[in-house]
């Protein structure tokens, strides 16, 4: 068996294992089409789906969790206002975690799920709400000095939120320009930034429930990973790349000098990780992270090549990949730097 044939067999087996039979699918689709036609096709798709099959246990659990989160958010809003007095010079971890958790909850509640297609008329309103929730989060961070040891996490959340705000504005611009492909790309970048905030928030909340149990060598390695990650300034860089189009004269320097500078940073991060073997706890994640970094370098090459060829299609693909691997870097670096 050739390597390709063996890999293909593995892929088949791996995917078959998580694809249960669904013999009822044909009848549910038929029922939902019939239902849809009866109602004149004006109902929301999701509503149709739920009425046809009923809520599953998983969906019900998710809904309960969402309702509970919303209720807790409301309670928190009533009991903690203002969140942080402006004159405080230090903040307790409990207070800080409370503030971050609450603001994060508000942002998540406003994630613009409406902006998935050009006919989503609720998109502009949803974007405005999400931007305002992100801005409120940033304002609260500015009014809430981080507890000792959380300065870097604090700064990181702020940077990611600023990038998320820029991306939301780009989503709106793409929506108004009827550019679905651009809208999709920017949304991916936004998701990556929110994921970064989510990781940081989880770390803050976890620290509030108990101190870190990292050994000295693990803590040193986590700090090294964090420092390299911060140096990349991925969120800001990606927002700039995603927001730039080939025709934008103002972006000319980005495609050459900017890309080369970012590549240098990625290479330097990669070399640093290669020169410093991870503690066993981080061995696997570190390998993934290095794979992500290698992919990022290759994708940056693709961006440069697409610019040289003035090839919009190739640029789209390169940006897509770049955003994807930036998200992967954030995720894998986050697994290390936020380990406890």
């Amino acid at each position: 068996m050739t390597d390709d044939a063996r890999l293909r067999a593995d892929v088949l087996q791996a995917l078959e294992a998580v694809t249960p039979l669904a013999p009822w699918l044909t009848s549910t689709v038929r029922d939902s089409l019939r239902e849809h036609r009866k109602k004149g096709g004006r109902r929301m798709l999701a509503a149709t789906r739920f009425s046809v099959r009923g809520l599953t246990a998983v969906t019900a659990v998710l809904l309960v969790a969402l309702v509970a989160a919303a209720a807790l958010g409301l309670l928190a809003l009533r009991s903690v206002a203002p969140l942080v007095p402006a004159h405080r010079s230090t903040t307790s971890i409990a207070h800080y975690a409370d503030s971050v958790g609450t603001d994060y909850g508000h942002v998540v509640d406003t994630v613009p799920r409406a902006c998935v297609a050009l006919d989503d008329t609720g998109c502009p309103g949803a974007i405005a709400t999400a931007v305002s929730a992100c801005q409120a989060f940033v304002s609260d961070l500015d009014r809430t000095p981080p507890p000792p040891g959380l300065e870097a996490v604090h700064g990181r959340m702020r940077v990611e939120l600023q990038a998320a705000i820029s991306d939301l504005q780009l989503v709106l611009a793409a929506f108004q320009a009827r550019d679905l492909a651009h809208m999709n790309r920017v949304t991916e970048a936004f998701v990556a930034e929110l994921t970064a905030v989510d990781l940081a928030k989880s770390y803050v909340l976890a620290l509030n429930s108990g101190p870190s149990t990292l050994s000295d060598s693990e803590a040193r390695y986590a700090s090294r990973v964090a420092s390299g990650y911060d140096h990349l300034q991925l969120a800001t860089f990606n927002t700039t790349v995603v927001g730039c189009k080939l025709a934008d004269g103002g972006c000319a320097a980005l495609w050459t000098v900017g890309i080369a500078a970012e590549q240098d940073k990625v290479r330097s991060y990669q070399s640093d990780l290669q020169a410093n073997p991870p503690p066993s706890r981080f061995a696997s994640t570190s390998q993934f992270l290095q794979g992500d970094l290698a992919a990022e370098i290759r994708d940056l090459d693709d961006v440069r090549a697409a610019f040289a060829a003035r090839d919009d299609n190739a640029m789209d693909i390169a940006k897509q990949n770049l955003t994807y691997f930036a998200g992967a870097i954030t995720h894998d670096a986050g697994d290390v730097m936020y380990a406890r």
Binding site: L7, L15, R113, A328
Partner: protein, 172 residues
């Protein structure tokens, strides 16, 4: 316009719906397998196929005369999967929940964890091309139509996906 008028007529009576469903039926299981492979969550996969069926029903006028139903519908399902992952950004968490809930099921499931993790790390288009070609065994030209790519781009995307997959698995 002719297509639009025909589609509107189809949509207005139950006979049209029956014909549409009959055409769709043979494609539903491949669509479901595609959605499972893209989302790694049977529940979300079912939802994606149902939503895609409704969208296909609405977009009938865009199905060119003589065009095949399978790549057209699979393309809609692929978009739906992409939207599912995007619109619910918590679906990253859902992804993990789905994976964990089935991981304990059997040795066969456990054995594929690394491969599925590697597949999840591919970008959307690469994953789509890989799944359509290797999992659903579609011919390259049909993969290209479903993925909205040229045949050449599809071949190149597939080669890159396989390379990336191999690299991920070596790293694992």
């Amino acid at each position: 316009m002719q297509n639009a008028a025909m589609a509107a007529k189809w949509r207005s009576d139950s006979g049209g719906e029956a014909v549409f469903t009959a055409q769709l039926e043979p494609v539903l299981q491949p669509a479901y397998r595609l959605a499972c492979a893209m989302l790694h969550d049977p529940q979300l996969a079912e939802d994606a196929v149902q939503d895609a069926a409704l969208k296909a029903w609405r977009k009938l006028d865009r199905l060119r005369p003589g065009a095949e139903m399978r790549p057209w519908f699979l393309g809609i399902v692929a978009n739906e999967c992409r939207n599912t992952r995007r619109s619910g950004w918590w679906s990253r968490v859902g992804d993990l929940i789905g994976e964990r809930s089935v991981e304990a099921a059997s040795d066969a499931v456990v054995a594929g964890v690394d491969v599925r993790r590697a597949i999840r790390r591919l970008d959307h288009r690469s994953r789509l091309v890989l799944v359509l070609r290797w999992y659903l065994d579609l011919p390259v030209d049909e993969v290209a139509r479903a993925a909205g790519l040229s045949v050449h781009a599809t071949e190149s995307r597939l080669a890159r996906a396989i390379r990336a997959l191999r690299k991920e698995l070596r790293n694992d």
